[in-house]
């Protein structure tokens, strides 16, 4: 027997240090947590504190000195005479929109996902790519398309399509809650399609079979077997859509104004525009809090159902329901959704780029000059977008900035996923999981303003990044981290720790394990974690202008400037190019890596 080793706290501490030195997961987790506290939590706290401090110029209303703590903004938003107009009614409307849109997206996306994943629908492979395109366009294009068709005399101006055919379009159909729900639903249903479709595809049809053998009817099977198994993917989709809609501004504002339909984001927008930062901060906080509640509900549901999910991934059989005589009607349905969500918005946008005078359908009015012309009568942009150098330099800039941010984001997301899963069950794990989703809930402009303060000067070890290329990348990375970290978490959850441990036992150190084993296996999730930020980053605007001080022209800023110069045709052409770029990038990434966009949004 060897002599009893000396016991003591010192040895124990030394042991833990030795372990930590070789097993950097926790260390990385702590570092990530610190970085996130600084980059995510601090800006949110800064927004929060704005809600309780008197702003400069508001002493007239509050009777307090600027900077003093105050409950004035809370009072104004929640209790004053105008609170019902300012907040409560918009709040109710927001809930209606969010719930309605989510349901709409669930129905449309769910039906499409089922048709594509589990039936013999003709052209389902094509649909699985084509239907996702609607997420690649800015959401306001749907509002634009809607008005083009359904607009009535209430709004004046050019006649709507239906109106021109002599149809009296009622207000509820043209403006307000209903069209907003449909327009946003058509934009966001790809989330359901991706997540739910992926889950359906992975589900073992033996599970269905065994239920059928036990004598269950089809409907019972759907309710008792399929739905509970699909629930995690559904709640994930619901969370992503619901939370995003809370802060969506463009569509509800365009479609809601004619009938005074206000939502929280329009209230927020009006407050920011009028320099009422205190009120804006209160509303932003409400958006964040509602979003957090949704996350909590989601994670509770997930916890209930997680046990099921891992079961039955093996031996899943790719057996499809035969539609038989419903095959053609189903195809018709899918084509309808494709038409409504992709063809019409793109068509409307495209039409606007080939008409000299919008809305005049005469042959002489059609032209391709805004695309390929060389002698436009506009001074600043004399050439069509495809033949002007500005487009290509903006494209290159967008690709550079957004691409770099997206790649960083994907890698960071995988790392978050890695740490969250490896330290699963600890506080660190749940904290990282929750924090990395928070940026999804914070209005971009609030983030940008807070970032400006954070990075304008050197703070401790953090240099003054303001105005640099780096800060643009950072804010894009953080803003889109929710997509990537979700992809990373779900992928790591499915992978389990054993393949990595096998490499470890084989002698591979941490770095080699990450680069040679974990990352290659998680290629699919990495691609998702890069592509989604890429798509949403391409569409991003306000954060970029706020933080970029150089004149780096991106596609979005180019488009906005074109609008400003009144070259709507050119501006819309640029929007189409943004969508095309997103599509090509997605398509190529999927083709080159053989992975699908859906492979890990769930988490």
């Amino acid at each position: 027997m060897p002599p009893e080793p000396p016991r003591g706290r010192f040895g124990r501490t030394k042991y833990h240090l030795a372990v930590a030195r070789h097993e950097p997961t926790k260390l990385i987790g702590v570092l990530l947590a610190i970085v996130f506290l600084y980059l995510i939590v601090a800006p949110i706290l800064s927004v929060a504190s704005d809600a309780f401090r008197v702003h400069f110029g508001d002493h007239v209303h509050t009777g307090q000195e600027p900077g003093a703590w105050t409950g004035y903004y809370l009072w104004r938003v929640f209790r004053s005479d105008v609170s019902s107009i300012l907040f409560w009614q918009p709040f109710l409307n927001t809930i209606v929109i969010a719930v309605g849109t989510t349901l709409f997206a669930l129905v449309v996306g769910g039906a499409m996902a089922w048709l594509i994943a589990r039936t013999d629908l003709p052209g389902r492979k094509w649909f699985s790519t084509a239907l996702v395109v609607s997420y690649m366009m800015p959401s306001w294009t749907f509002a634009l398309a809607w008005l083009t068709i359904f607009k009535n005399r209430r709004m004046g101006g050019r006649q709507g399509f239906l109106e021109a055919m002599g149809v009296q379009v009622p207000d509820w159909l043209a403006y307000g809650a209903f069209p907003t729900i449909v327009a946003l639903g058509l934009h966001y249903y790809p989330f359901v399609l991706l997540l739910f479709g992926n889950a359906l595809r992975r589900m073992d049809s033996q599970l269905e079979d065994s239920a059928r053998v036990l004598g269950a009817r089809r409907r019972t099977i759907a309710q008792r077997i399929v739905l509970p198994l699909m629930l995690p993917s559904l709640t994930s989709a619901v969370l992503l859509i619901f939370a995003k809609i809370l802060g969506t501004f463009g569509t509800p504002y365009i479609l809601g104004l004619p009938v005074d339909f206000q939502v929280m984001s329009t209230s927020l927008f009006q407050s920011i525009r009028n320099r009422q930062n205190g009120v804006a901060a209160v509303i932003a906080l409400v958006v964040i809090v509602v979003g957090i509640l949704v996350i909590l509900v989601d994670s509770k549901i997930l916890k209930e159902y997680r046990r099921f999910v891992t079961v039955g991934s093996k031996g899943s059989m790719d057996r499809r329901t035969k539609l038989r005589r419903w095959r053609m009607p189903a195809l018709g349905l899918a084509m309808t959704v494709f038409t409504a969500s992709v063809i019409i918005p793109i068509g409307v946008l495209f039409l606007s780029t080939i008409q000299r005078i919008p809305g005049r359908f005469e042959l002489s009015n059609f032209t391709l000059r805004y695309w390929i012309g060389t002698d436009l009568d506009s001074v600043a942009f004399p050439r069509g977008v495809l033949v002007s150098g500005e487009l290509y330099s903006a494209m290159w800039n967008s690709f550079r900035v957004v691409g770099l941010a997206a790649v960083c984001c994907g890698v960071l997301g995988l790392l978050v996923g890695y740490v969250v899963v490896r330290t699963s069950g600890t506080r660190l794990s749940s904290m990282l999981r929750q924090i990395s989703f928070l940026p999804y809930l914070v209005p971009g402009i609030a983030f940008a303003a807070a970032y400006l303060s954070l990075f304008a000067v050197q703070r401790g070890p953090v240099p003054a990044l303001y105005g640099t290329f780096t800060i643009l990348v950072i804010v894009m990375v953080i803003g889109n981290l929710p997509y990537s970290s979700r992809a990373g978490i779900s992928a790591m959850m499915q992978l389990g720790r054993e393949p990595e441990e096998a490499a470890q036992v084989s002698g591979a150190g941490w770095w080699r394990r990450m680069t040679r084993i974990v990352t290659p296996i998680q290629k699919g999730a990495l691609v998702t974690g890069i592509i989604l930020p890429f798509i949403s980053g391409l569409k991003e605007l306000s954060t970029v202008i706020m933080l970029a001080t150089s004149n780096t022209e991106l596609l979005t800023t180019l488009s906005v400037n074109l609008v400003d110069f009144g070259y709507l045709q050119l501006a819309n052409a640029v929007v189409l190019i943004i969508a095309a770029m997103a599509f090509v990038a997605t398509y190529l990434a999927q083709r080159l890596t053989g992975s699908s966009l859906a492979s890990g949004l769930q988490g």
Binding site: K14, Y15, L17, P499, E501, A502, V505
Partner: protein, 381 residues
């Protein structure tokens, strides 16, 4: 000289009860050691601690002269530096690499020249008879083939210790038999120390040179398979090892008080024991049947019984018996001539009884007494 030593190992997961409790274990060089126990007994945790994938809460792990873990002295050698091999229950093959690259991975990390690597890979692959599959990806392999790749991957680096975590549990019966033979062959050829975790006692009996039975994080018994089988140290081991399980009656059993008191009384008198007997067990293989009490050898324990069912397996016969007021199982290699409801006599030799005290620990005094008396008397061939 013991190769692997575990000294006073504790493992406590956050706030939960001890997964491993004050474990002392010495695994000799070249042993084929099996950690046996029901699921959740701490055997996999122990294996993972040896591999370095988990860290003990207290204690020390050494291989030869090298300390791998010492919580008290603050020494920790990471898994990648331990030069062990570990085969997972799920195989954990790397799906993005071909069979050859899976096997080659560990060698590459050791910076072995490519020629040597190729030779070594070839050698292991052909040893495991999967050299034809080397360009396939894991998803294209059957379960048995994956298992072989997992094994080959670890063997390739020539580990000083090979750790196996329930490697055969996902295979069908035939493949399992084949792989058992394979493992035995590998062990014979390379003389690697193998530590093997299983809940299947048959696997443990057939493969191991040394078995450690664990339950609730506590080592129950350490010994050769035959020691474990012949002289289980306590009730848990006695009941866990053997199939069908040992017939076990405790003195205070309410289900069969008569048969219990008969066996307990018999054991106490034969063993001339001073301490009270708590329970007695007898393996199904050690029970015999006779048509009448007269055919029972003198001195053996016997009791009237009724045959309830006879279950032939082809190679042997299992009989369910009603002995006095208790239910016993009997296994016989010879055909059973009795049918259901036949009244018979059931008997067994004194040396085949396993006697336990009131805390379910084996009473070695009984074994000593019986051994001594059998030598004296010279009976019992």
């Amino acid at each position: 000289m013991p190769h692997i030593t575990l000294t006073a190992i504790d493992k406590i997961y956050d706030g939960e009860q001890k997964a491993v409790d004050n474990l002392f274990l010495a695994i000799p060089d070249g042993a084929f050691m099996c950690l046996l126990g029901p699921s959740g007994c701490g055997k996999t945790t122990t294996l993972r601690m040896i591999a370095g994938l988990e860290q003990p809460t207290a204690g020390e792990i050494r291989v030869a002269d090298r300390t791998l873990d010492s919580v008290e002295q603050g020494v920790f050698v990471p898994p990648e530096k331990r030069q062990m091999g570990l085969v997972f229950q799920s195989y954990a093959l790397w799906p993005h690499l071909t069979v050859q690259k899976n096997v080659d991975f560990g060698l590459r990390i050791k910076k072995i020249p490519s020629r040597e690597r190729a030779e070594r890979t070839e050698e292991v692959l052909s040893l495991l008879r999967i050299d034809k599959l080397k360009d396939r990806f894991p998803a294209q392999l059957s379960g048995g083939q994956q298992q072989r790749v997992a094994l080959a991957r670890m063997l390739a680096v020539n580990p000083s210790v090979l750790l196996l975590d329930e490697p055969l549990s996902n295979l069908d019966a035939r493949l399992r038999l084949e792989m058992r033979a394979e493992l035995k062959r590998i062990h014979d050829r390379w003389r690697t120390t193998i530590v093997f975790v299983t809940h299947d006692q048959l696997e443990a009996m057939t493969l191991a040179t040394l078995v450690a039975v664990m339950n609730d994080g506590v080592l129950q018994q350490l010994g050769s398979p035959m020691e474990i089988y012949d002289r289980p140290a306590n009730r848990f081991v006695a009941e866990f090892v053997g199939n069908p399980p040992m017939n076990y009656v405790a003195r205070d059993d309410t289900s069969g008080p008569k048969v219990a008191s008969s066996l307990v009384g018999y054991a106490a008198s034969v063993g001339e024991l001073a301490d009270p007997v708590g329970a007695v067990g007898v393996r199904p293989e050690a029970l015999r049947l006779s048509s009448a009490p007269t055919a029972v050898p003198p001195g053996a324990w016997h009791a009237p019984a009724r045959v309830e069912a006879v279950l032939p397996t082809g190679a042997s016969w299992t009989v369910q018996l009603r002995v006095l007021d208790g239910t016993f199982y009997l296994v016989s290699a010879d055909p059973i001539e009795h049918g259901a409801d036949d009244e018979v006599t059931c008997w067994t030799r004194a040396s085949d009884l396993h006697v336990f005290d009131e805390s379910d620990t084996r009473m070695t005094a009984y074994d000593d007494a019986v051994t001594a008396s059998s030598i004296q008397v010279g009976s019992d061939a």
